[in-house]
Assembly symmetry: C2
Amino acid sequence: MRELCLPFGLNAEDMQQVDTLVGSRVKLKKGDALYRAGDAFQSLYAVRLGSLKTTVLAEDGREQVSGYHMLGDIIGLDGIGTERHGCQAVALEDTEICVLPFERLEDLARAVPQLQRNLHLFLSREISRDHNIMLLLGSMRAEERLAVFLLNLADRYRRRGYSSTEFVLRMTREEIGSHLGLKLETVSRLFSRFHEDGLIQVQGRAVKLLNAAALKELIGQHG
Amino acid sequence: MRELCLPFGLNAEDMQQVDTLVGSRVKLKKGDALYRAGDAFQSLYAVRLGSLKTTVLAEDGREQVSGYHMLGDIIGLDGIGTERHGCQAVALEDTEICVLPFERLEDLARAVPQLQRNLHLFLSREISRDHNIMLLLGSMRAEERLAVFLLNLADRYRRRGYSSTEFVLRMTREEIGSHLGLKLETVSRLFSRFHEDGLIQVQGRAVKLLNAAALKELIGQHG
DNA sequence: CGCGCCGTTGATATTATTCAAGACCAGTGG
DNA sequence: CCACTGGTCTTGAATAATATCAACGGCGCG
């Protein structure tokens, strides 16, 4: 956990300080909201166990999954600027969260340069991540989008020490579609097609990547 | 400028410190790159005059306009996490930039809480902005996208004291399309349609909003 | 004046959505 | 134990939205 999260690279002394930061732990059941759009922003949250989706809401009620978050991810970063959360975070399974009160985090960041650096890294990476999703949504075909999604997921599991070729999706087809700017039927069809083509094996939410190289090749083949 | 930018809300004393931060000024001509994808990250940049587009690059060479930036905007935020700029910034007209060396900015932010706060605000707002673009790209129809784009532009001009109803686009149809996930022909057709429908007046890049309310209504009407 | 880039518009093709029906699956209560 | 239910997933056929291809007009600049 430490390796992935904010305290990365801190010495023992600083670490002690950071330990005082963690306000509390929260346990969520599947479907519980960690925060909702419009809630006052007070804290960032680190995922300790389980996974969540975050969704952006449009004024007209439209909703889009903006991210899928697992162990070590920091969420709530978009709330800093607006004092209100602009999106919603909902647990996809039983999940545990560390609450990081943001004012204390800012105070501590002034005292501990490495922590400041890490905070900036996380903020900036979120921006890069979002840019990549924009690229995906704006210029990729449906097929490519799903391939990117699967490979990205595989990579994140790998980094956390899980199998990168075999995993169980925590999202429904609809949630995946919402994240990728596609309809659930399209996602379903693509899974079937990938399966037929021998790229993956799919049974409901259980996915096995059979030919990651071919999935990678798929990306970059414009319509 | 100060109102919009990082030093917002600082007292005179702190302001003096911040003044020492600005490393240098850069002048760009139309088409010049402020930085390119892959360049080492060292500084953030504040737009003093003119405008730029930033573009994300995919591995396969695909390119997408990720943002359009004007007076007071801070760009380069995505480079912090990766040590390399993940995107490219190109001037759309003659443009002047303040260079803000990031290490010094971090040092100063530890000393000046309000500056730290502002930096976090900018980072977080960029995230919110990106989430909104994701929503646009993932769930809006072409028509809605252009309406959002125009209204957003109008709002930004308004805040800067320019006319919010009459302005000259600095981007080509292709660049607008790239930003909105559309082809240039589609953008052109939409401009024509909005014109026919009396929503806007358009002549090349000169745009006049005739009925902003109707444009707003347009948003939220799903396919 | 001529060249190149930009923008417009039409006809056609493609892609993804919509609508619709049914299968599957887990949990629930009889 | 089984039928029932609601949510999820799959698949097909028809449809709508946007992309592609292509031609041309205009404008600015050397």
